[in-house]
């Protein structure tokens, strides 16, 4: 199963990573600025976007997380997809 991954895989993964990074930054910012409504709106927008991206990624390339945080396909192939360090 070492067919090379399509370029869209990397594109989508990078987009997911960028949104995740922005969410981490906003979380840290909001911890010290709880009343900043603009940032909270931005945070919720990005959280929504992150859900959509994760859903799209998992539909195409397999689960991102385990223990029920992601759906599994019919042949339980969570361990077969290329691992993050192999990607």
């Amino acid at each position: 199963m070492n067919t090379p991954l399509p370029p869209e895989y990397y594109e989508l993964l990078e987009e997911l990573q960028a949104v995740d990074f922005a969410l981490v930054e906003l979380t840290l910012y909001l911890d010290t600025h709880p009343k900043d409504m603009d940032s909270i709106r931005q945070f919720n927008g990005l959280a929504k976007k992150r859900k959509k991206l994760a859903k799209e990624y998992e539909a195409r390339y397999g689960p991102l997380l385990q223990f029920g945080r992601s759906y599994s396909d019919e042949d339980w192939s969570w361990g077969k997809a290329p691992w993050p360090w192999q990607v």
Partner: protein, 81 residues
């Protein structure tokens, strides 16, 4: 306090190490230390300008004011001490 009024600062500072007459080792000369933007910012103001999300991932921060790239000052003169 808008961006313009904020004091201008250098992200890197230097000091000279004293070299005694009986010091067997060669003089170290200049040493550099980093002074990142957050030192000059205090409590982070609201509505700071942000990088676009994709770019923020590669810049390492979401806020333009806190961006602090590191260039190796020791490599400036070509030789790496």
């Amino acid at each position: 306090m808008s961006q313009k009024e904020r004091c201008h600062f250098t992200p890197m500072k230097t000091y000279d190490v004293y070299h005694g007459p009986f010091d067997p080792c060669p003089p170290i000369g200049h040493k550099y230390y980093s002074t990142p933007p957050h030192l000059y910012m205090g409590f982070q103001p609201r509505c700071l300008e942000q990088f676009p999300i994709r770019e923020a991932l590669f810049r390492g921060t979401l806020w333009k004011e806190l961006y602090d790239p590191y260039e190796n000052p020791y490599r400036k003169r070509g030789e790496l001490r």
